[in-house]
């Protein structure tokens, strides 16, 4: 039986929406960059670099958005340090606490990979080039993969954070973490694709990214179906009135890229950028409807 709710809304709004999008895409692009290095070939290196270049600035935005959302922004450090004892503030059972630490640690990995990617480009100082060479070793790869685990977490935990509450919709489903992850990875592929339009050497990987995006989208669609099923009686909270418009955007951002693939005739007719743009709008719309509808 579903829980009855008599709760107040936390008023998590635009900063949180922006953070969820930035975290999802930053983590997602880091993971894509890593997977391309692990499983791709030399021709995929430019796209991998591009992914790490995108991931880092998106990560930088995250703590700023989170801090701005706080009622007491100057106390942001209370998330990490116990202000009474000066010890570490860490609660494994509180996703917000774990998320704050994960974001910090992921930030280190993301910075390292950004520097590595920078060092691989021409006209960089010798020191950076040397760092990049280390990254190619087994130890460097291990570091990159450990970073990818944190990236996956950062991309996904926001959904678990919502679920670990007593709010309607959020706490009525276990699917949100997985759903945000699948959508974040799909959005990340789309973002790398879009950015590769300006970097011909990265465009070599376009077909692979399109294929990966299709798998992530299928995963996302399965999770959206599970999300609806698990909501049962409160489904109407997310599927009523104006929220339907956002779901249409989500639908366009998932179904259109699949249709374009399965109906090659469409490919010629529509812009190459339309698919990735719809995917990114879908990433935004999905988070908006999930965040706002239960609080309205």
């Amino acid at each position: 039986m579903l829980t009855e709710h008599f709760v107040a809304a936390p008023h998590w709004e635009w900063y949180i929406l922006a953070y969820f999008v930035a975290a999802g895409l930053s983590g997602g692009t880091y993971v894509i960059g890593t997977m391309l290095r692990l499983w791709g070939d030399a021709r995929d290196l430019p796209a991998s670099r591009l992914a790490f270049f995108i991931s880092w600035p998106l990560l930088l935005v995250c703590p700023i958005l989170l801090t701005l959302d706080l009622g007491q922004p100057t106390r942001f450090w209370h998330m990490l340090i116990d202000s009474r004892t000066a010890g570490l503030a860490f609660k494994s059972w509180s996703p917000m606490s774990v998320g704050a630490w994960a974001l910090l640690i992921y930030g280190i990995f993301s910075t390292v990979m950004f520097v590595v990617a920078l060092g691989e480009t021409r006209s960089t100082p010798a020191l950076l080039s040397r760092v990049s060479k280390v990254a190619g070793t087994l130890a460097g790869r291990v570091v990159m993969v450990v970073g990818a685990l944190f990236a996956l977490f950062v991309s996904a935990y926001t959904g678990v954070l919502l679920a670990v509450s007593n709010q309607p919709v959020w706490s009525d489903t276990w699917t949100l973490g997985g759903l945000f992850l699948a959508s974040g990875l799909s959005g990340a592929s789309a973002l790398v694709l879009l950015m590769s339009r300006r970097r011909p050497e990265a465009a070599e990987t376009d077909e692979k990214l399109l294929e990966a995006d299709r798998y992530f989208i299928i995963l996302e669609l399965v999770l959206i179906a599970l999300f609806f099923v698990t909501l049962g009686g409160v489904l109407s909270r997310v599927l009523s009135g104006g929220w339907l418009v956002l779901w249409l955007v989500v639908l366009a951002g998932t179904v259109v890229p699949l249709l374009v693939h399965w109906r090659p005739a469409w490919r010629q007719r529509i812009s190459r950028n339309l698919g990735p743009i719809l995917v990114l709008l879908g990433v935004l719309a999905l988070r908006a409807v999930v965040i706002f509808s239960p609080q309205s």
Binding site: M1, T3, E4, H5, F6, V7, A8, A9, H11, W12, V31, I32, M35, L36, L38, W39, G40, D41, R43, D44, D69, G71, Q72, R75, F76, H78, M79, D82, S83, R84, A89, K91, W93, S94, P95, M96, A156, G159, V160, L161, L162, A163, V164, S165, N166, W170, W174, L176, G178, L179, L181, A182, E207, K208, L209, E211, A212, Y215, L219, L223
Partner: protein
């Protein structure tokens, strides 16, 4: 540790005078409420950063045709849950359990993330945009430390709100339910003996909990119930996504 304390609120004795609300506002120096017209004698509306006590006016249908509706009043407050959802999720440890076994938000530690508001199943906590922090009933922590009873309990003219040693209050409540049932009030029941490990502010009700906007025993669940299933879903999705990435990115020698 001092003896655990509690509030036993007997809704059959409440007359809706709101003396508790006024005393609470006065002692805690809470701002007044914006004037608004509601379709009720209840012009407080809800518990939040301005209202640590809220006298809820509950309309109940009766079997008497001459008097089809009866009022029931309930002075609502933070339940100071033994297993408190707010305390569970608070990332900064601003929410603590005091030596009196009550739940208290340290205003100098809270950074206004509002996770506790999302977690409290009773909609008790409000966000104060002036202080930038979450606020709720303190159980008059300052008064307790000075051997004074909370302001609301002291002000209540009908003793609907009883303050005291938690164990004594539970015994008193059980006796009162028995007496009421013997008088024919068969719906009399205690809310808060078992919910969230036992509430420190518990109630005698004459209707099902939902009628007073209180989650029933099945719905009184902790946020942490979704921790493991949520992370499991993430783990499974991660594995499937990695397989997708492997298949997509591994292709070799297919390019022109």
């Amino acid at each position: 540790m001092a003896t655990p304390v509690g509030f036993f609120t007997d809704t059959t004795l409440c007359i809706g005078c709101k003396a508790c609300e006024v005393a609470c506002k006065e002692w805690n120096q809470l701002p007044d409420n914006p004037i608004q017209f509601r379709d009720s004698y209840d012009n407080t509306g809800q518990l939040d950063q301005r209202n640590f006590r809220h006298v809820r006016f509950v309309e109940q249908a009766t079997s008497n045709p001459d008097k089809p509706i009866a009022w029931s009043m309930m002075s609502d407050v933070c339940k100071h849950c033994a297993n408190a959802s707010c305390l569970e999720v608070c990332p900064t440890d601003a929410i603590i359990r005091t030596e009196f076994d009550t739940v208290y938000i340290q205003q100098d530690v809270c950074n206004g993330c509002r996770d506790c508001i999302a977690a409290c199943p009773y909609g008790v906590i409000g966000f104060d945009s002036q202080s930038g922090t979450a606020k709720k009933c303190t159980f008059c922590y300052d008064r307790l430390q000075n051997n004074k009873m909370p302001a609301c309990a002291q002000a209540c003219p009908t003793q609907s709100i009883k303050f005291g040693n938690l164990a004594d209050l539970r015994k008193m409540a059980a006796d009162r339910v028995q007496a009421l049932q013997a008088q024919g009030v068969t719906q009399a029941r205690i809310y808060g003996d078992t919910e969230y490990g036992g509430l420190h502010a518990f109630f005698l009700l004459t209707d099902k909990p939902e009628a007073y906007a209180l989650p029933n025993a099945e719905s009184a669940v902790l946020p942490g119930r979704n921790d493991v299933p949520g992370y499991l879903a993430v783990a499974v999705t991660s594995v499937l996504a990695a397989i997708g990435g492997l298949v997509a990115f591994r292709r070799r020698g297919e390019r022109a």
